[in-house]
């Protein structure tokens, strides 16, 4: 392989790395409009949402930790026990409990349904 080919390869790799770094920096940037909109929305509704769900149908805790004490599908201290709730995004969004959830887990009327 010629020296020119290697130079091209190095430049290509550098360009790829810089573009990837730029994407990361861009996504971290302070998106002022988005923050203002978030603030406005949250102040209007009094603070709503802490998890990855967008409704209360199967796991209110995944929608907002303020609305339920724990996940009803939390199977406890078995390997992957907390991952069985489909709304926890395969444990990506696991979240600690606010209070002892035992009583609430048994109930399906923690919030209006």
């Amino acid at each position: 392989m010629t020296g020119k080919g290697i130079t091209l390869q190095v430049f290509g790799l550098l360009l790829l790395s810089i573009t990837a770094a730029a994407a990361v920096v861009w996504s971290l940037g302070n998106h002022h409009d988005g923050r203002t909109r978030n603030q406005e929305f949250q102040q209007m509704v009094g603070g709503l949402g802490t998890g990855p769900a967008v409704d209360l149908s199967s796991c209110p805790f995944s929608f907002d930790a303020r609305l339920a004490n724990g996940c009803r599908s939390d199977l406890g201290p078995i390997p992957g026990g907390v991952s069985y709730c489909r709304e926890h995004g395969c444990s990506l969004f696991s979240c600690a409990k606010l209070h002892d959830p035992q009583a609430e887990k048994a109930s399906h009327h923690a919030v209006f349904h």
Binding site: M1, G5, I6, Q9, L13, L16, S17, T19, A20, A23, V24, S27, L28, D33, G34, R35, T36, R37, N38, Q39, E40, F41, Q42, M44, V45, G46, G47, L48, G49, T50, G51, P52, A53, V54, D55, L56, S57, S62, F63, D64, R66, L67, S83, R86, G89, C90, S91, L92, F93, S94, C95, A96, L98, H99, Q102, A103, E104, A110, V111, F112
Partner: protein
């Protein structure tokens, strides 16, 4: 130094000597890293929005508690809580789930008193609900998309209330750029929400704003001294208080958060990745063995062969990681998490009607690069070492 650079140059050459092998190895790295990076970016995005939700929410959330279960709190509690020293404002709120339409679409109703509404908002297209003969609603973007609702649409009664069923009007739609929890939201007046659920005189929680320095004393007074009669024969409702600090503490963060992610991807990446890359990059590749045999026969030492292959692995893993980062960015930024967002965010459509929140933090990105390096190195170095420690004649056979 020049000696090492010369060997490194041969590592670059090796990448192009077997273009198919290099392409397949890079593709394997991309396939393994892409969902990992997208999941991380989404979870960071949701976490950031959740932090805003806590930061801009109330100081204390007070709900009812009976026998350890969460129950609605009577509206008489508003007056009682307001009288506690240090309380600035108490706002009752209703949050509940309903099912709408022929397709049984789940929605979340949030009702607040009109006094709590800001005079002007930019996150709503249209206007905020007002008191009147009709129920006025502001609807989330996903819900509007599913039910084909527009500003000005009238909805026939979708609930039964002891006060009578009323027509509802959509007076506003949430902006798609508002936080993801607006997706299935119906925002309305407190009284309208009470009618929708046919639950008069109760709220799901009270939002308490405290004067500076009073938060702890108010929380302890509420938990210790305050209880409300629910009705004849129904006993009393005690209060359950959740503070902003408690909520901040439970948000997934740091090591525990990464731990959850790693649980999932550890199995995928190492169970599938290493054998795949082992096969594509070295093991069973007779050309590679012959190539190493020739190098050894022409005087190359084992450490030189390994250095050459390490550079080759570095180039392949860096290429794979960079492509995966760029694809993750494109998928989330320009394709708005098409399909993948519905996997991680339950209830979101395949083509999300909201602006999917994401944030690609440097630490997970570096971790992804390290992971790809480990994968490719494991795949190539082991087989190279095996080939370079046997006699050249044997390796070339």
């Amino acid at each position: 130094m020049r000696y090492f650079i010369e060997i490194a140059r041969t590592g670059f050459t090796a990448v192009l000597l077997h273009p198919l092998r290099s392409a397949v190895t890079t593709a394997c790295v991309v396939v393994l890293l892409l969902p990992f990076l997208v999941g991380l970016a989404l979870s960071q995005g949701v976490e950031e929005e959740a932090r805003d939700s806590i930061k801009f929410g109330a100081d204390l959330y007070v709900s009812g508690d009976q026998f350890g279960r969460r129950v609605p709190i009577p509206l008489e509690a508003v007056q009682q809580v307001s009288e506690i020293e240090g309380v600035k404002q108490v706002t009752p709120r209703i949050v509940g789930g309903i099912v709408l339409g022929a397709d049984n679409v789940d929605a979340v109703v949030v009702g607040l008193p009109i006094e709590h509404f800001p005079p002007e908002v930019t996150c709503v297209e249209g206007r905020l609900p007002r008191a009147g003969n009709r129920n006025e609603l502001v609807v989330g973007t996903e819900l509007a998309q599913r039910l084909k609702l527009h500003v000005g649409d009238l909805l026939p009664p979708f609930y039964h209330s002891s006060k009578g069923d009323r027509i509802s009007e959509v007076v506003g739609l949430f902006d798609a750029d508002a936080p993801l929890w607006q997706a299935r939201l119906i925002f309305t007046l407190f009284d309208t929400a009470a009618e929708i659920f046919n639950q008069q005189g109760v709220a799901t929680d009270l939002l308490v704003e405290c004067r500076s320095g009073y938060q702890e004393s108010i929380a302890s007074t509420l938990q210790r001294d305050v209880a409300f009669p629910r009705g004849p024969g129904d006993g009393v409702v005690r209060t359950r208080v959740t503070s902003r600090e408690e909520l901040q503490a439970i948000l997934p963060g740091g090591v525990a958060h990464r731990g959850g992610i790693f649980n999932l991807h550890f199995v995928l990446v190492f169970a599938v990745g290493i054998p795949v890359i082992l096969v594509t990059s070295g093991l069973g590749l007779s050309e590679r063995r012959r190539e190493i045999g020739i190098l050894k026969a022409t005087g190359w030492q084992t450490d030189e062969v390994l250095l050459r292959n390490a550079v080759e692995s570095l180039v392949l893993s860096l290429t794979g990681a960079c492509i995966a980062i760029l694809l993750a960015f494109v998928w989330l930024q320009w394709l708005n998490g098409y399909w993948i967002a519905s996997i991680f965010l339950n209830g979101i459509d395949v083509s999300p009607g909201i602006r999917v929140p994401f944030r690609m933090a440097p630490v997970p990105v570096l971790f992804a690069f390290l992971l790809s390096l480990v994968l490719v190195m494991t795949g190539t170095l082991y087989s190279s070492w095996r080939a370079s420690t046997v006699a050249p004649v044997e390796a070339m056979r």
